[in-house]
Symmetry: C2
Subunit: 333 residues, 2 copies
Amino acid sequence: MLDERKASILRAVVEEYIHTAQPVGSGHVAQSPGVEVSSATVRNDMALLEQEGYLRQPHTSAGRVPTDKGYRFFVDELTGPARLDKSSAHQVRAFFDTTHGALEQMLLDTTRLLSDLTHYAAVVVAPAPEAAEVRSAHLVGLAPSVALLVVVLANGVVEKRTVELAAPATEVELADAAAHLSANLIGSTLAALGTVAPSGGPAVDQVLVAVKRAWASHPEADPEQVYVGGTARMASAFDAVDTVRQVLTILEQQLVVVSLIRDVLDRGLQVAIGSETGVGPLADCSLVVAPYLVDGEPAGSIGVLGPTRMNYPQALAAVAVVSQRLGRRLTEG
Amino acid sequence: MLDERKASILRAVVEEYIHTAQPVGSGHVAQSPGVEVSSATVRNDMALLEQEGYLRQPHTSAGRVPTDKGYRFFVDELTGPARLDKSSAHQVRAFFDTTHGALEQMLLDTTRLLSDLTHYAAVVVAPAPEAAEVRSAHLVGLAPSVALLVVVLANGVVEKRTVELAAPATEVELADAAAHLSANLIGSTLAALGTVAPSGGPAVDQVLVAVKRAWASHPEADPEQVYVGGTARMASAFDAVDTVRQVLTILEQQLVVVSLIRDVLDRGLQVAIGSETGVGPLADCSLVVAPYLVDGEPAGSIGVLGPTRMNYPQALAAVAVVSQRLGRRLTEG
DNA sequence: GCTGGCACTCGGTATCATCGAGTGCCAGCC
DNA sequence: GGCTGGCACTCGATGATACCGAGTGCCAGC
């Protein structure tokens, strides 16, 4: 696609621009290691690279800046699998060795870790509760005809739903219904809730119907819990306050974030660059994502959001390592 | 403290500055309703107001800007209890009439509501779990010597702790321990957990000891859950991207936010202006807070964080109304 | 004690020249 | 043919200069 020299020149432009955030001129590129030709030759090639859409000139007679396509080529072809530097690797290890407590807290802390590693904003999508095995189910009365369904999953997550009963139920009836639910659900996933058979007793069945209805009406009360951290980093990444505002607005919409990440993963990508995200306000942002596996199955995903001129090798390495360690940690339980 | 005319002039400066974000000159003030003197007189008074610390001149021969002390006087003496405008009041009512589902989601949505009403960032501190009555307690085995303590509170909150057992326990032993806990806790608060007496059986007692230890080591795994919303609004409030970054950094530190709010309330204040917050990076921010009552008892608090030149009457009204409605909604259950 | 008048300040804006990094192009060299 | 040095050109950034006007402090007078 690109001959070797053009590729080297593109690499030099991208790396320099990531470093300085200033348009890169032919002189600098000619002096880069890996480029052994004169600035005039570089100029010719840069003009071609611009024609082919890899580079862009902010103004006539300024240096060149990579386009999304340029970054894409850099990420796909010019960047090998990178390793985390020593201190970062140590930081990751220390984090997963010492982290403790509830899953939710760990996931939130993981956004901090990722953000510290990369200096960009970080997101962590929690494991889908549907995938985990049920360990126990309880029904607790809160008011005469309001109960709370509490389901404990094997990974330590607790799911709950408010259940509005058609008629008041006694503690005993609730306990019977819970026992029936437990008997049918333990060992399978929450998805099996829809197919639980009636138990026989009318009072208990009334409760079961209400439980099913409560579940069906909010199957995803946590539509896919997502944790966001390091948003303040976005303010360092851009100097236009309006860009910052737009990006923050996106990050506040959990639904958008989740579907964005899912979409990127569904396309088989690790990185979405600028307009590839499909989200207008993120035109100047790139997203690096990775799923994490629990018990060998994809459970959730993590990601890093930064400016398009992000340090891709570093971000990719950080996301890869953290997703792997997080998966391992959650598999251990 | 300030004679009537000076107060009127200060009011005019504050209101104008809140509106335009530009230093206010004597000419504009003289034309304001409520000020019936010439600009020369206004100038004299403004010089005095500056000497006394209510106003500040960004540069010689520019207009005046209120100081923290100026805002403080405005808030304390010049601003009566304001009412929410019609559409906002309607928005609040509609929100609390239609909101449903889990407490957590409601509190998160409340930050959206407050942020929409005021156009500033909003925080909601959840009710302290210690205060709520226990409705049921369960112990679920996750691994041979790991169990999960799940406690359902009367307000629908579910508290959980991972419990590391000294020795493996059977399902029956866990159930016995849970029954013992339930018997001792139901009707009182979680604080009573520390004083639960042994049950007699050694296997069960082993579990009880582990439960107490788990609770004691993370009494506040949710140190005081806090929800933050509308952070993107901070990017509209300031034009220095660095100020935005600093404020966001603060908002990301839940502990800081919680203690800040608590501190303000402890001082008996509704509003903390600029340096009154005691947090350096918030020198250009003001915080408007209010507690909300559940069953007549202070349960949690809500707040709005904006620039010092915020619309105080509006923010105070919004916070007052929302805290009241939220408390009522949570009291109903 | 308030006001109109006046000299003064000084930040913001516009104009203009300069500078220099960077470009495109071309003739010449290997 | 392809690379290179050279050259004229572009144009954003920087800085000097002037100007404008909103705003001030002060003072004499009503």
